[in-house]
């Protein structure tokens, strides 16, 4: 058996490692994405003051601090048996919208989008934000930078600090909004809404009007028929901040709907010996190995998972786009992995509309933003991080110190699906040992769509290493190395 290793993954800066196993004939036998997991969080958290958890967990990742911060404060609400005032919930949700805005913009224009905007066959050196500028123009790039910064600014105003918020407390938030801030946020949100609509139009013009891309989106290697999961409000519409966890099947029927606090009754984790990773699956369906279909309990989270799991969007513009996406791609659910990119833009539009509703709500300037806490116990907080369902689960002692902490992050929820997508894409593009750069990029595209979030510690110098492919013979001896600069 020959082994091809793609390492490091471009634009993921060497965090994950893709190993592709070929048989004697040179066809793909199997493929794995191995993600080095951060270890010891549970032990690290033991004995810490509960109210420090929103700050500590927001350090886990340099880009999704808001999701961890809010999941943590929601877990603490539950642990301290307190329901925050309505105004506090709205402030947290508005903060969250700012985060979704900057995160989704960054992913589309910098990370996932270049594959489409510049093209999957383009040289690697062009498939980045600079290539996007070349294709879409300097003015678009200026707008990208501006609106990503607006999202950041909104979170900084509400969070009390840039990037890493400090506002969340059990029972509410520490900081309200004043009139001037409301005006600033309103202007930024309006502008982001226009930009979100522009971005969907850009996706239309560049991707959907190009038959080659649409065929690629709908092609078998990029199709995965898993279950879908996401938070929904009481009308089964997508919600990032709160609601019930809804799971839908391959025919878009609801199979489960449960409160976050009951997650252990519905989700189990399988450990495969070749990886440190845990693969979550639906308990009621069971583990059948890494395969899709109704008999396998593997599910997908994230933008496409959420849109599939829900019955629509809670705001009018996004709802219209939601319907259009499903009509265009052949109805619900959409199983095309590359449609994650489209779903992400529909969510971007939703976040701007929802932010507008919240900032125009008179209650947003209320000064009643915190309720007193009661005796500590156990609590679970669930939010939809940009890349999928995020669960924080704490058990506190009587002094409010952490006894036990468990997190399930979005990329873990997607682990099984990402691995299968990588394998299917590899099967689709590598035959008889024929491997070139364009083909390898299509494999990377499969997991890039999920916007996976790996641990944020590795330093590599000299960084930005070229893609290296190692090909081993059937005795696992290195027979060839292909390096792409």
């Amino acid at each position: 058996m020959r082994t091809i290793t793609i390492d490091p993954i471009t634009r993921l800066e060497g965090h994950g490692k893709i190993s592709i196993f070929l048989n004697e004939a040179g066809d793909v036998e199997n493929a794995y994405l191995q993600i080095p997991e951060l270890r010891g969080f549970e032990k690290f958290s033991e004995g810490r003051r509960a109210e420090d958890m929103p700050q500590i967990t927001s350090r886990i990742c340099g880009v999704c601090p808001v999701a961890h911060h809010i999941a943590a404060v929601k877990a603490l609400d539950a642990a301290f048996h307190v329901d925050p005032p309505m105004a506090a919930k709205k402030l947290r949700e508005l903060l969250y919208c700012g985060y979704i805005i900057y995160d989704h913009i960054l992913h589309f224009y910098f990370l996932g989008g270049p594959d489409f905007v510049v093209g999957p066959e383009a040289p690697a050196a062009k498939r980045n934000i600079l290539g996007v500028i070349e294709k879409a123009g300097l003015d678009v790039a200026k707008d990208v930078i501006k609106h990503r910064a607006y999202g950041q600014k909104i979170t900084a105003i509400l969070g009390g600090k840039a990037t890493h918020p400090v506002c969340g407390l059990p029972g509410g938030v520490s900081k309200g909004l004043v009139k001037d801030e409301v005006k600033d946020i309103k202007d930024m949100v309006e502008s982001c809404n226009t930009f979100a609509k522009f971005t969907l139009q850009l996706f239309d013009d560049i991707v959907l009007k190009n038959k080659v891309y649409v065929d690629l989106i709908r092609s078998d290697p990029y199709t995965l028929k898993t279950y879908n999961m996401g938070l929904v409000d009481k009308h089964n519409k997508v919600n990032f901040y709160d609601g019930m966890i809804r799971v839908s099947d391959q025919d878009a029927n609801e199979v489960e709907k449960f409160e976050g606090k009951d997650y252990t009754n519905h989700i189990a984790e399988k450990v495969e010996e070749w990886s440190y990773m845990k693969f979550p699956y639906l308990k009621s369906i069971g583990w059948q190995g890494l395969q899709d279909g109704k008999k396998s309990g593997i599910y997908r989270v994230g933008p496409l998972g959420r849109l599939n799991a829900a019955e629509g969007m809670a705001t009018p513009q996004a709802e219209k786009e939601y319907t259009r996406m499903f009509n265009t791609l052949g109805g619900k659910p959409v199983n095309s992995t590359l449609a994650f990119h489209w779903a992400r833009l529909i969510e971007l539009l939703y976040a701007t509309e929802r932010a507008k509703e919240l900032i125009e709500d008179p209650e947003i300037t209320s000064t009643h933003i915190r309720n007193p806490v009661k005796t500590p116990g156990a609590g679970i907080g669930v939010v939809e991080a940009a890349r999928g369902t995020l669960i924080h689960d704490y058990k506190l002692d009587k002094n409010g110190l952490v006894e036990k902490a468990n997190l399930i992050v979005a990329t873990t929820n997607n682990a099984g699906a990402i691995t299968m997508s990588v394998r299917n894409a590899a099967k689709g593009v590598i035959q008889k040992g024929n491997v070139n750069e364009g083909l390898l990029n299509k494999v990377e595209m499969a997991f890039r769509a999920y916007d996976p979030c790996f641990g944020c510690a590795t330093h590599t110098l000299p960084g930005g290493m070229p893609l290296t492919v190692n090909i081993y013979d059937h005795k696992k001896n290195l027979s060839k190395t292909i390096t792409r600069s």
Binding site: G16, V63, N128, C453, T458, G463
Partner: protein, 152 residues
């Protein structure tokens, strides 16, 4: 010349946070000085936001480099390190962010970015303390940052 010193790293991933430990140490040495210091738990675009408007930037960061001893301290211009602390899968490197800003015609970008890099082993374990090899590099790095500041 307007200068900023930034410690980059993750404070809860052991040696990864060495840049932050060094800034804390520097604060003791530079109590009465006007030197601007900050810490960043992040990279890429966020780091770009922090350095806009300065003429010179000194980044103190953990680095991983083959054939180097853990705890070794290195000085080099950012231009020689295309992906410093782009460790984040969901962000671009600072170099890429700077390149982008230049293309967009931004004028308030630093003329010089110097990295003081401390070689660490790969760590995926949570913790707030430095390993002994890396902790012993802190005084050297502090001296190097002070020397760098004298040269500006």
């Amino acid at each position: 010349m307007k200068t900023i010193v930034i410690g980059v790293g993750n404070p809860i991933l052991q040696d990864d946070g060495v840049g932050i430990h060094i800034i804390n140490e520097l604060r003791g040495h530079l109590k009465d000085s006007q030197v601007i210091m900050d810490i960043a738990y992040t990279g890429g675009m966020n780091l770009l936001d922090m350095i806009r408007g300065y003429d010179k930037v000194i980044l103190v960061d953990a680095i991983k480099q083959e054939h180097c001893k853990t705890g070794e301290v290195k000085r080099f211009p950012l231009t020689q390190a295309p992906a410093i602390h782009s460790s984040n899968p969901h962000d671009v490197s600072l170099s890429e962010a700077l390149h982008l800003a230049k293309q967009l015609g931004e004028t308030h970008l630093p003329q010089e970015i110097i990295v003081i890099g401390i070689v660490i082993k790969n760590t995926n374990d949570f913790g707030e303390h430095l390993s002994s090899e890396v902790a012993s590099a802190v005084p050297t790095a502090v001296t190097m940052v002070l020397a760098e500041l004298k040269n500006t």
